[in-house]
């Protein structure tokens, strides 16, 4: 493992958000071309950043929906 391999984790945020300087990005990408384990590490970090947006929302539980509808009916009865 090289010094660059060890430094990859701390550069990842700026790299995936394209906030890393062009020189630093180019150096990192040169390293990734020759280091499969770092490439895999970076790709998995990208996937972690992306997977959250693909999580579907759970529907509200039936009991909560019933409770909220009852509340709504109570509001209507008062107004």
């Amino acid at each position: 493992m090289t010094d660059t391999c060890r430094a990859i984790a701390e550069l990842l945020y700026d790299y995936v958000t394209e906030e890393l300087s062009p020189d630093a990005s180019a150096e990192l990408e040169r390293h990734l071309e020759g280091c499969p384990s770092c490439w895999q590490y970076v790709e998995s970090y990208r996937q972690v950043a992306a997977m959250g947006r693909n999580l579907p929302d759970e529907p509200m539980p039936d009991e909560l929906v019933r409770r909220l509808r009852s509340l709504l009916e109570a509001f209507r009865a008062q107004s």
Partner: protein
Amino acid sequence: MIQDAKSETNTVAEEVPQTFERLLFEFGTRIFNLARRMLNRVEDAEDLTQDVLLKLAKKVVQFRGESSLDTWVYRVTVNAALDFRRRRARQPDCCVDPSSESHGKGLRGGQSAAWRDPQRRALNAEARHQVERAIHELPEHYRDVYVLTDVEELPIVEAAELLQLSVPAAKSRLHRARLLLRQQLAPYFEEALT
């Protein structure tokens, strides 16, 4: 213009149920899911959802449009969740079962074609379970930033403001959250990438 007290009271009393209903259908599911992921307990998320919807319905007459309605809903929900955690004594994380399919019919219908395919549904459900479980296990100060940015897709600047963090602090927490999730989900990624 000065309104008499009776007409002002009637206006608010009539608006609240109408507003509550609109908020329930437009934002209910989103509020519930944000609460669920921030509080890590379905029961707490249910209580918080009701509290937030009531608060929004009563306050919407005061909403002056300084921000978008979405931003305002997020702000009220996040503040309520943070207050909720501060008020309640620490309890063991429990009761959120990412694999549970027992929610029944929700107010939001529709699923993508990938979910309808039986074989892909099984694979996606397993992945979803793993991801939700990993998020559930994040320390809450990392989980909050990850949920607001990578799940809810808020800009990091907005997430930082909602959580009353500096932007560098929010970025640092998000980065740590991603590294922890990557570590937790490493076997899944190794399988997917090889």
